[in-house]
């Protein structure tokens, strides 16, 4: 003889897993999308890197500027003539580089010591050309400086007078910390995977059960209401964790597909990180499943419950943004807020930090309280929900 909660658990799990269509949608949206976005970002970054390596500059009217050509060639740049309709191509996103336009009087102005204007043409809606504009600006600044130094030297002024202050960068972030910047999206995707995994099962076992009129007969069984609720909750948590685990594991092969080598070197997501993520996500899955059930049990239909659950979805997707806009840095209270705590901790795992019990305890406790309160509410509301 098995415990009634186990009977409910098995039934709800089988029922949820038979909902193939919903499961497929959840799998696609939360398991496949993460690695897919990772690949897209990598191909974008890879493209930019490739173009930077090629060192090609598109110029119109280079024949008017032998001095500039000389400088650019010394910087090992290949100069290519811009296509005639480059403005249209830039607008239509067909051209991926900004275009430098040299005026006909360039060389004459230069010789006369006048200020010459060259145009850098790009479209701010064209992301690829935008990315290349930094390199062109740096080139022009270099050319400017060289010309200035030469002109001053002719007049007997030391070049150092031009530059009383020199700025040097020293980056303190190691490879792991740099990888974490890219990795911020991985915690976000697995967090949403937990939520999407729990959502349908949580709504189906509560509001869905009310809508199809099976909650009333269910309560006419001599089973303690807590057993019913625990069984249902267990099934929801299992489905949520199943999706979360698949989502975490999907990033393992996902990163082999990263095209950019420097990106692949920076993005470190191995089995260690995946297991840390799963441990961190488990209490959150427990709490969120219970919370979604508590929200849905008050609703008469699946549709109404979906509308109400939007608040939770919004909160969970917005909370991680706190770490993006954190002006005061990481705060102690972040670890007490479910979803925010998990994002923060997963971020630290990606940075290569190891987490101690002191880091995990606040989020575990917060999830425990939230989960227990929600389950208590569901148990209390179940009977009233059945007859309304």
């Amino acid at each position: 003889m098995s415990h009634p909660a186990l009977t409910v658990f098995i039934k709800e799990l089988v029922d949820a897993l038979r909902d193939r269509r919903t499961l497929m949608v959840v799998l696609i949206s939360s398991v496949a999308i993460g690695p897919l976005v990772l690949m897209l970002v990598s191909s974008l970054v890879g493209g930019i890197e490739k173009r930077a390596e090629e060192r090609v500059l598109l110029v119109q009217g280079i024949e008017h500027a032998p001095t500039l050509r000389n400088y650019l060639e010394r910087q090992t740049y290949t100069i290519t003539d811009a296509p005639a309709d480059f403005e249209q191509q830039l607008k239509d996103n067909r051209l991926g580089d900004p275009v430098l336009v040299v005026p006909p009087n360039f060389e004459a102005d230069m010789a006369a010591g006048l200020v010459t204007t060259v145009e850098m043409v790009l479209s701010s809606s064209n992301q690829r050309a935008q990315a290349g504009s930094g390199a062109v600006q740096r080139l022009m600044r270099g050319f400017n400086q060289e010309q200035a130094v030469l002109r001053l030297a002719v007049r007997g002024v030391a070049a150092a007078q031009m530059e009383p202050l020199r700025l040097e960068e020293r980056d303190l972030a190691d490879a792991g910390a740099r990888a974490a910047q890219l990795g911020t999206m991985v915690p976000y995707f697995v967090l949403m995977a937990v939520l999407y995994g729990a959502l349908n099962a949580a709504l189906d076992t509560t509001a869905g059960e009310r809508e199809r009129g099976s909650l009333e007969p269910l309560l006419m069984n001599p089973t303690a209401r807590l057993s019913l609720v625990l069984g249902k909750w267990g099934a929801v948590v299992t489905v949520a964790m199943l999706i979360a685990v698949l989502s975490c594991l999907s990033f393992l092969p996902g990163q082999w597909l990263i095209r950019s080598e420097s990106l692949a070197a920076m993005f470190r997501f191995g089995l260690r990180e995946a297991s840390y993520f799963i441990v961190l996500l488990f209490p959150l899955a427990c709490a969120l499943s219970a919370l979604l059930m508590a929200i849905a049990i008050r609703c008469k239909s699946f549709k109404e419950a979906q509308a109400n659950a939007t608040v939770v979805m919004l909160a969970v997707s917005m909370l991680p943004l706190v770490t993006l806009f954190n002006l005061q840095g990481a705060q102690a209270w972040h670890l007490w807020v479910p979803a925010l705590a998990q994002t923060t901790l997963m971020g630290r795992v990606l940075k290569g930090e190891s987490l101690g019990a002191g880091d995990l305890l606040p989020s575990f406790l917060a999830c425990l309280v939230l989960g227990a309160l929600s389950l208590w509410f569901v148990t209390r509301t179940l009977r009233a929900a059945a007859v309304k």
Partner: protein
């Protein structure tokens, strides 16, 4: 045996200005004996479903009590429920599960072992003539097929007391007849106590040994069909019901006296 005494229940609908207090049940009482089909007859909104929900422990009454085989439902709901099979107004099935799985699930919740539940499914499928349905998913079942599955589910633990809330709703003639035969068999062969709520006179005339007429939340009369006809001095049971359940001013003009 199910004994119901002096039930009272009010519901509050709406909030604030729109708040309305509805007295659903105010003095329903009757006794349903073993080996007897007791009909709960009343028009729509008379309080039948509320009475049966109180009997199943889903609603707590403000006054009165329901005793099932000597067990008070309000005090020991689980013990009372294990002696009752209730087919309620809501009879939703799980669409992604087969009829057999739906029935076995309830059997397991009643504490039956897997094999005992499977055996009961076989028996019930024979009694309710639903063998071909057992291994189909209930998605796409007809009204009658759903009804049979829900009834089998309510009876899976072989309860001595059976409570059915308008079980013939939506059933065609043949399904209704087969349900009536099944209920008679349960009464005669197994001496079950059966409560059957309905608003259809024919049902009551053909099936019930004892009739409880409920109107505006009260028991207004009870007895066998013949006794009630005699009391109302009518030969037609429908006329008897109208005379017993409604005040003279509420009856439709043009009705026979």
């Amino acid at each position: 045996m199910i004994e119901i005494t002096g039930l009272h229940k009010t519901f509050n609908h709406g909030r604030g200005r729109n708040k309305r207090v509805v007295q659903a049940v105010r003095g329903v009482e009757f006794v349903a004996r073993d080996g007897c089909i007791t009909g709960l007859l009343g028009s729509n909104g008379a309080g039948k479903t509320t009475t049966l929900r109180i009997a199943a422990g889903l609603i707590t009454p403000e006054q009165g009590r329901v005793v099932v085989d000597g067990i008070d439902v309000a005090t020991y709901p689980q013990q009372a429920l294990s002696r009752m099979g209730v087919l309620s107004d809501a009879r939703g099935l799980y669409p992604r599960m087969t009829a057999r799985e739906n029935i076995v699930y309830y059997g397991r919740l009643h504490g039956l072992s897997r094999t005992a539940a499977d055996d009961r499914v076989k028996d019930l499928a024979y009694t309710l003539d639903m063998q071909p349905l057992l291994d189909r998913r209930t998605e796409g079942f007809s009204q009658g097929e759903r009804m049979k599955t829900a009834l089998a589910r309510a009876l899976v633990h072989d309860p001595p007391n059976i409570v059915l809330d308008e079980p013939t709703n939506g059933l065609d003639v043949m399904a209704t007849r087969s349900l009536r035969n099944a209920l008679r068999r349960l009464r005669d062969e197994q001496r079950k106590c059966i409560i059957f709520s309905t608003h259809i006179m024919q049902e009551v005339e053909r099936l019930c040994d004892h009739v409880v007429v409920v109107a505006q939340g009260r028991t207004v009369a009870q007895g066998s069909v013949a006794e009630l006809n005699a009391r109302a001095q009518q030969s037609d049971f429908e006329e008897t019901f109208v005379k017993l359940a409604f005040k003279p001013d509420d009856r439709q003009p043009g009705d026979r006296p």
